[in-house]
């Protein structure tokens, strides 16, 4: 089983690699190049089912084409009446039994994989992250490590990481195609899944359950770093001093403006679990702003001046005083300097 599956898989991977090289599908986003345990499980079944079903399709097409060529009414056959056949027991049995066998071939590994991916018996021995889905951003709470962060989730490679997911509003769905299939984030119950990334990298995550106007912009990143780097990141995050004064004057003004303009009411800096808006402890290390904008100062100022234009329906718009260009600028300076760790998306090879 594993043997020929393996061969087909490498064949399939090669073809999909070719497709990707041809400019279709972006690495670390596409599910066609799995780089994690869940994605690989899914991929195995995708390949198996594609092979089985293509086999059926090919047979259908062959019979269909031959029938059309051979039995198309030709000139001079206008009055030809073919033999009226009622049926054929043997044939009908054949095309009932063969599909049953094919379905079984597919069903057995499906069930095995389903139970495998749902296994959370040893969850407590691994890293656990509590995830909250919000319109339209993600919050990550490393409860045991007492770290809070948002938008970028750091995990060590080669280890199972358990995600316990709950929504604060409507249903979302946590999907990192290259690492793992998706799981819904419901408001009524905690759903647990585990992910494991094989290689270092910054993987695109997407919300896959329709959740309102900015559903398509509710992106996040999974930053898989080596276990050592992960340890270092945890240490750095734990030793953050949220009160620390920035070095330069502009950023100091920014910090003051941040405190004056009720930003604190929603955004925590440090390990406070309050989370009406994203935790900004390591905002300067973020791979993106608001999940999808490049982390430049201009983009950040744009966001602070008018978030509605960037993410329609977001929950920040209108809930803080209007900022002057100058204030926005200094806040941006301050926030971008929040870089508590050496370990950043770059460490994962971004």
């Amino acid at each position: 089983m594993k043997g020929w599956m393996g061969k087909f898989k490498s064949l399939f991977l090669l073809t999909s690699l070719a497709i990707i090289l041809a400019g279709c599908g972006r690495e670390n986003l596409t599910a066609l190049v799995p780089k994690g345990y869940g994605a690989e499980s899914s991929m195995n079944l995708i390949i198996l089912s594609t092979i089985v079903m293509t086999f059926v399709l090919v047979i259908v097409i062959i019979v269909y084409v031959i029938a059309l060529i051979r039995f198309r009414r030709k000139k001079g056959q206008e009055n030809f009446i073919p033999k009226q056949v009622e049926g054929n027991k043997t044939l009908e049995t054949v095309w009932t039994v063969i599909p049953i066998i094919l379905v079984l071939i597919l069903a057995v590994p499906t069930v095995a994989a389903t139970f495998d991916l749902a296994d959370d018996t040893n969850a407590s021995e691994h890293i656990n992250i509590d995830i909250t889905g919000n319109q339209y951003w993600w919050h990550f709470d490393y409860a045991n490590e007492e770290i809070q962060t948002s938008q970028d989730i750091y995990i060590p490679t080669g280890e199972k990481v358990y995600l316990n997911m709950l929504s604060s509003d409507v249903i979302h769905s946590f999907w990192v195609p290259s690492i793992s299939g998706k799981m819904d984030v419901n408001p009524e119950n905690v759903n647990t899944m585990y992910i494991e990334a094989y290689e270092e990298g910054v993987y695109w995550g997407k919300c896959a359950e329709f959740c309102g106007p900015s559903h398509s912009l509710m992106d996040f990143k999974v930053i898989a770093v080596s276990p050592e780097e992960y340890e270092q990141w945890v240490g750095d995050m734990q030793s953050v001093d949220p009160e620390a004064e920035p070095q330069d004057a502009v950023a100091q003004d920014g910090k003051a403006a941040f405190e004056e303009n009720s930003c604190m009411g929603c955004h925590a800096i440090g390990s406070s679990p309050a989370a009406v808006g994203p935790n900004l402890t390591n905002f300067g290390d973020r791979s993106k702003i608001a999940g999808f904008l490049d982390p430049t100062k201009e983009n950040l100022v744009d966001w602070l001046m008018d978030p509605e234009a960037i993410k329609p329906g977001n929950k920040m718009t209108g809930n803080y005083p209007d900022l002057s260009e100058e204030e926005a600028n200094s806040i941006a300076e301050y926030l971008l300097q929040l870089q508590p760790s050496e370990i950043t998306p770059e460490s994962a090879g971004n």
Binding site: C24, G25, E86, I171, M183
Partner: protein, 617 residues
């Protein structure tokens, strides 16, 4: 042509005729017209969606408007286009196929149509009254509860009213098939389209109540402060998903089985061969319908139901491939050894086989739960269900229209244009949807208002949009064909295709009482039997006698109108209690009409024997 004749009588009486008709053939025209109208509307919405997605981060539509578009596109196409068009074909053909003079409940038939029509109009009024629903055609709670404005209220009431119409239609067809078959028309002699109508009606009967319940709960949550789906108050939003899909999965079989039925008739007719494996085909249809109720949670693999539920539903889902496969192979075997004639009706049917097989193939792939963790809610799913719904249902409707047009309207659709529209639409369809399988796997979730630059999704989306334009052109050619045919189309006589089933034993279009004498059915494909072994036409099963006919009535229209007005009232009474007047007035109209119907005896009328004999000359 009847329309031309009636126009001489003036447009007013023509309109009145259709508003009050209880004749299944005219109700079929109404369904085709109504469904066709909504099909064009839904198609327009689809074009807006594809234009928005022609390039990354496009700003053709705003996020809010885009969400309204996708919601209305899905809702319109499923509830207001595909289903009514099928109901139209069923109405036009099924009574003829079983040798009946009308359906069992002509009055209910009309009521079913008007409820559908008013429900559809109500839903679309939302565009002008503050915004269309925007929570997706699935309207998942809590998003649908949270959705501001009245959009989702229109969804709830529009679907509730049109759903009632569908339910009534289903019950009517069920009783018709059970009680109205001509002498000798046993169940196992019924054409496959009639079988499909019958089984579809059973599905409607059992599936729609789940939707009705779900919509009522949603209505109460939104309008009257209940909390069935409100987690904060102890409700549970997953229940909506169960209710929706307990209805929703059978619904896809409600859409596909009638198409299966008519393809069976078409393949057999144009191969000049008896349907291969008739019995297996009938039982496969039943099995599909039965299994259709056992698989709803395959739409919920990622909800977190646990591995046991996911495994059971995965296996049940894959199992449906077996009866479906039986059908595909039986169609191929029907053509095998036949004398295949390829015309427009047959082209649509031939296009269906590879297209639907791909759709079925991806269906099995989706059924594999762990693989579905990747496919779910991505463009892969969008591709899959368009392959089955367009490749199955829409191709089916178009095949059926080309096949039965001469029967329904007495004129034959232009072959040339028929073929052109098929090829343009067919190519456009595969251009649009084939790449979407890959878009999904490359990381594009569905219902994305924009996709970002630099994610490798540009090319696929561009191709898809180009394909959509081809499809639009195909539809336009078909519309031109309809107009051309109405004006200049040939009149091919009663039986242009060498038909095998009873509808081809009537006039084209059939007289209003269908059969002067009910036919005697001697086997499967009764007309074919008479052509090859008998006198060439049906033997009557009864002497010429008086025919009992139902009276026309405006009451079904009034009931529909009443519910429409009450629906508007329900939606806006949340804002101001003065709108309760509309609720009362509407309900009074509807219930008043019901009272009139119940209390006033209406025995119909008789066409006398003498008249029938005179008409024959």
């Amino acid at each position: 042509m009847s329309i031309a004749a009636t126009q001489k009588r003036g447009f007013g009486s023509f309109l009145w005729d259709y508003l009050t008709t209880v004749d299944h053939k005219k109700i079929a025209h109404l369904y085709l017209f109504g469904g066709g109208f909504f099909f064009l509307l839904g198609g327009l919405e689809a074009m807006f969606i594809r234009i928005q997605l022609i390039k990354p981060e496009n700003d053709f539509l705003s996020a809010g408007l885009y969400n309204e578009m996708i919601t209305m596109h899905g809702t319109t196409m499923i509830f207001l286009a595909a289903m009514p068009l099928l109901l139209g074909l069923m109405n036009a053909v099924m009574p003829l196929q079983i040798g009946a003079r009308d359906v069992a409940f002509p009055f209910l038939n009309s009521l079913g149509f008007w409820l559908f029509m008013f429900g559809g109009i109500l839903l679309n009024c939302s565009w002008f009254l503050g915004g269309a629903p925007d929570a997706g055609w699935t309207s998942y709670a809590p998003l649908s509860i949270q959705s501001p404005g009245h959009g989702v209220d229109f969804y709830v009431l529009g679907l509730q009213i049109s759903g009632a119409g569908t339910l009534i239609g289903g019950i009517n067809f069920l009783v018709t098939v059970v009680t109205m078959r001509a002498p000798g028309m046993t169940y196992m002699r019924m054409p496959l389209f009639t079988w499909a109508t019958f089984i579809t009606s059973v599905l409607i009967l059992f599936a729609f109540p789940a939707l009705t319940v779900g919509l009522f709960l949603l209505m109460f949550d939104r309008m009257f402060g209940s909390a069935f789906f409100d987690v904060a108050l102890g409700g549970n939003s997953i229940i909506w998903q169960h209710l929706f899909w307990i209805f929703g999965h059978p619904e896809v079989y409600i859409l596909i089985l009638p198409a299966f039925g008519l393809f069976s008739d078409i393949f057999s007719t144009f191969s000049r061969k008896r349907l291969f494996g008739y019995t297996a085909m009938v039982f496969a249809t039943m099995l599909i319908a039965f299994l259709g109720f056992m698989v709803w949670a395959h739409h919920m693999f990622t909800v977190g139901l646990g591995p046991v539920a996911n495994s059971i539903f995965a296996i049940a889902t894959m199992a449906i491939a077996v009866p479906t496969g039986i059908k595909i192979f039986n169609w191929l075997a029907t053509m095998w050894g036949g004398s295949i004639e390829i015309n427009s009706a047959m082209l649509w049917s031939l296009g269906f086989i590879p297209t639907f097989t791909i759709g079925g193939m991806t269906g099995v792939m989706l059924g594999s739960s762990v693989a579905d963790y990747q496919y779910h809610d991505t463009y892969f799913v969008v591709a899959h269900f368009h392959y089955v719904i367009v490749g199955g249902t829409v191709f089916g409707i178009l095949a059926g229209l080309h096949y039965w047009w001469p029967k329904m309207f007495g004129r034959i659709l232009n072959e040339m244009m028929g073929k052109i529209s098929f090829w343009i639409f067919f190519i456009g369809f595969h251009l649009t949807f084939f790449v979407q399988h890959f878009l999904g796997l490359m990381g594009m979730p569905r219902r994305y208002w924009v996709f970002l630059e630099d994610q490798g999704l540009d090319m696929g989306n561009l191709v898809s949009t180009i394909g959509a334009f081809f499809m639009a052109v195909g539809v336009i050619v078909f519309l031109i064909n309809i107009i051309y045919t109405a004006v200049k189309g040939e009149k091919p006589g009663d039986d242009p295709w060498g038909g095998r089933t009873l509808e081809w034993a009537t006039a084209s279009p059939p007289v209003y009482y269908n059969f002067k004498q009910l036919p005697l059915v001697r086997g499967l494909d009764p007309l074919w039997i008479e052509k090859t072994e008998g006198k060439g036409k049906m033997t009557p099963a009864e002497p010429v006698g008086d025919i009992h006919m139902p009276n026309s009535s405006i009451l079904p229209f009034m009931m529909g109108l009443g519910f429409f007005i009450a629906g508007i009232g329900f939606i806006f009474q949340v804002d101001h209690s003065a709108w309760l007047i509309a609720v009362y007035a509407g309900m009074a109209t509807a219930i008043g009409s019901m009272l009139i119907r119940s209390l006033k005896d209406d025995h119909g009328y008789h066409i006398h024997k003498e008249e029938l004999e005179r008409e024959a000359d």
